[in-house]
Amino acid sequence: MIRFDSVSKRYPDGTTAVDTLDLTAPAGQITVLVGPSGCGKTTSLRMVNRMIAPTEGRIWLDEKDTGTLKPHELRRQMGYVIQHAGLFPHRTIVDNVATVPYLLGWDRKRARSRALELLERVGLPVHFAKRYPAQLSGGQQQRVGVARALAADPPVMLMDEPFSAVDPVVRAQLQEEFLRLQEELGKTIVFVTHDIDEAIKLGDQVAVMRAGGKLAQLAAPGELLSEPADAFVAGFVGRDRGYRALGFSTVEKLPTHEEQAVQLGSAFGGTDSPDGWQLVVDTDRAPQGWLRAAELAPGSTVTEQHVHRGGTLAEQGGNLRAALDACLSSPTGRGVVVDQDGALLGTVTAAEVLALIEGRADQSSGTVRG
């Protein structure tokens, strides 16, 4: 756990980077600091490992006041990942990853075998070990940066816009892998970003900061979207937040209707469906898309070419956003629902999902009144 206790950073020229910040980053969770540039989020992060010293207040690491620890010893207990990875260009990948173990005095063999293990863990082939950073792509360098931060298995990870400098596809991939990794490792993470979507995707809790280094709101992502504390937060979390907030509303059971499906590669026997669309599944009953009956003669084989892949899938037990999106993206208006293994359960309509959403709204307004 990391606790900011009335922490401020004021500079001699009178500017205040961080203003009496009180914040707890719970153990094993991802706390995201988000805000526009100049809001003090990076300063706050760097005060945790004392790259910047606070002018007022204390920062606690569990029961220890970080101000009483030697900075270099404190830093060796905290993994640190930055935007452009900041790898050492003169060292091979394996030696980059082994940096902190070397500093902690591990013997070379142990440090290297640990580094190799981490390369695999972040999804890099082991033969990259002997390469130099300049030989890797931006996304690969960033993975090495994460591996390097994890090398000595620190309880705490500090991450400063780690995924901002890579293209959107790679970024999404890195975010997914980061969440998967965190599921396994359960580190106490403080993560800085200027991207509210990233904050909402990754954070267990999100701290929105505003210019002048003030904490505007600290909340779980869903709450941030549904109940922004003030106009600044509302503006910052941005458009479509009603829709995005549905992503944090799970439904135990969508009311599905049975849907006739034809298997890919089998003979098409026509459809009963009045709109002329027929769902196509593979041999595992995983939905592939829709085919239009008018486009192929009864008796002919159903092939990949016949499949319209427009629709997204909603998982039973998943969130309302995915359910609604499945309906809206389906050419038939019927959203396809699958079980946890990805096999077809049935379909649901937008009207039914909206009814669930309205029922949920009644409930929550009920609780407010109650």
Partner: protein
Amino acid sequence: MISYFQQHQSQILSWLGWHARLSALPLLFGLILALPLGWLARRYRWAYPPLVGIAGLLYTIPSLALFIVLPGILKTKILDPTNVVVALTIYTVALLVRVVADGLAAVPEDVLQAATAMGYRGFGRLVRVELPIAVPVIGAGLRVAAVSNVSLVSVSALIGVPELGQLFTNGFQLAYQTPILLGIVLSVLLALAFDTAIQLFTRALTPWRRAVRPA
């Protein structure tokens, strides 16, 4: 020229040996002095203008004047090779302070930040991260200083120091071109040898610069 060399072989080889030593030692001492000075100039912004400025000024002192003045300051004999070594060390420092400062300044900010965040302390960071990354820049500066030293050493022949410059003074006194030409050829070869050696050494220290991205 070749027959002249053969006739005076042992004498000329001895001068060549002296010339090499008188060029190389100041290079070594100069680098050792320039590293902390360059670090200071990089570390404290206020220190950069005076350090680099004074270093630049030192280089404008005429070498002959320095060879003559130094014995008085160092209490050495006029023919003592120490004078040449000290004088050329001053020139080497003059050239390298700026090179070291700029080489350290060229280390990317995110690399420095990462090094500090990993838990490197000041000196460890300098030796393990900053200097290795500055090697190509410092190596390039060393090559300039080495060639400059080889050429400056010959001036000390005027005060009688035994090195290749003796070929020039002899040639001049005898109005005989052959030793002068030989002196030029040997100086150039010596400078080339230094240059190549430093280049190879720099390359050996920086395998990472030759790493190419696999297609």
